[in-house]
Subunit: 146 residues, 4 copies
């Protein structure tokens, strides 16, 4: 028994279809009720010029964390599309292990505002990235908020 919620099946299924998450070796650890936790590690194939993970990696994973946080509160059958996000990079991703926590700040029928934090967890725990994101809730499989 655990206080960690079982990931909602729709979230888990969608995450499994994101080939980028698989390629990065990212794991969906928790999902449900507007909260998502994704864990990942350093990978030599995704670095920037100093050998740290590229800013795009933390961003991609934080985006998925926000999107699935929104999806976990959306009606059955809905899809979630990222309208925009802003990311602040507080420290370089120089460590070995990381986790991104996404949460819904304000759910809505059409727009959900989300936030994520990315933490380096090894060799030491420290906050490295913050994201603020806006998600569009699409009913019945629409693929763009146009």
């Amino acid at each position: 028994m655990s206080d960690r919620p079982e990931p909602d099946q729709a979230v888990r299924d969608s995450f499994a279809r994101q080939s980028f998450m698989t390629t990065l070796g990212a794991a969906l650890v928790e999902a449900g009720a507007g909260n998502v936790l994704i864990a990942y590690g350093r990978n030599e194939a995704f670095c920037q010029q100093h050998g740290y993970l590229h800013a795009g990696v933390a961003t991609a994973i934080a985006d998925s964390a926000c999107g699935y946080a929104a999806l976990s509160m959306a009606p059955p059958g809905a899809d979630v599309l990222t309208i925009e996000f802003k990311v602040n990079f507080l420290r370089p991703a120089s460590g070995e292990r990381f986790e991104a926590r996404g949460r819904v700040v304000k759910p809505g029928a059409q727009i959900s505002v989300c936030a994520a934090e990315v933490w380096e967890t090894a060799p030491r725990r420290r906050l490295i990235v913050t994201m603020s994101a806006t998600m569009f809730i699409a009913k019945g499989g629409a693929e763009t908020p146009a």
Copy 2:
């Protein structure tokens, strides 16, 4: 002869050290005088749940385009660090070929403000992503604006 500028060597060298760009198959097409063009294509390993390129891919490449645009205007030996960026996703990255154009909006000794646009170029040309980014100009190899 060509009106395309030869990429500045410091930019080219740094780009070549970004393993994420190599992994994505991204190519530095132009660089110099505050402008950078990076081209890339669809890759099954970097998609989201609908089979389109993940938002993190365009973001990573746009970030590199902005960073190298800033580096192309920085003093010799300087390094460029991303402080923050904001990205709007206008259309899904459903196509086959893409290019990201980064440019310096306002150069500075310590802070450069940059912008990037990502265009789908095949099968049709259309704007899919806009980025606004803030870069820190680090002298002598500093790795964080702390």
Copy 3:
């Protein structure tokens, strides 16, 4: 005769109802087809600690410029709500006269992405602020994208 478009009446009427614009002495110079120009001047009552116009002033006017650019392309009777914006401050607003130009980057039935630039126009012309904004198109007078 002039190449400046007559402001669309719905935009002009809504602008006139924004008491903040009146209080600031801001004038709607152009509006139509996804483009808006608002002019304003320095006012001692709206400054920050160095005597320059407060960052919130350029932001408010750029927000109105983006919102009315979106409204100028929206269906009759629609209303436009700001979902979010990001602003970069390139230089202090130390001058006397300013103008904000807003435009629609990507119109949509439910979401319009807009951009604005604020220029100091006197004593010299220079770019001081850039904004990227997301607008919600509300039909029939809804007041929130919830």
Copy 4:
């Protein structure tokens, strides 16, 4: 006696010089150790087209809250300049009383990353705005991060 910290004098002095805060009737309630609270109320002169406070008002006050949070952690004699911020508008500012809480997320010698939340406090308490901001720490009175 109170657990509310006395506002740091440098913060209080600078806030008093911001004529826009005075014009808006905003009050610096708390300041110190990276946290700032500013309270304000509805004012007919600063509204948008529906009679709610203009988005620029909450933005200006949240910006001041972030800036003074950063200043409260900066060295004596330093000044703080806003590089950029992003704001999400969660609900219309339809109420009568508001407060903006700013805090430092990551302090730095040259760059401080801050966040603010704006709450409507009357007639009901609800979150209406979130801000993420980047501040430049200027030593000795510099006025731009150029």
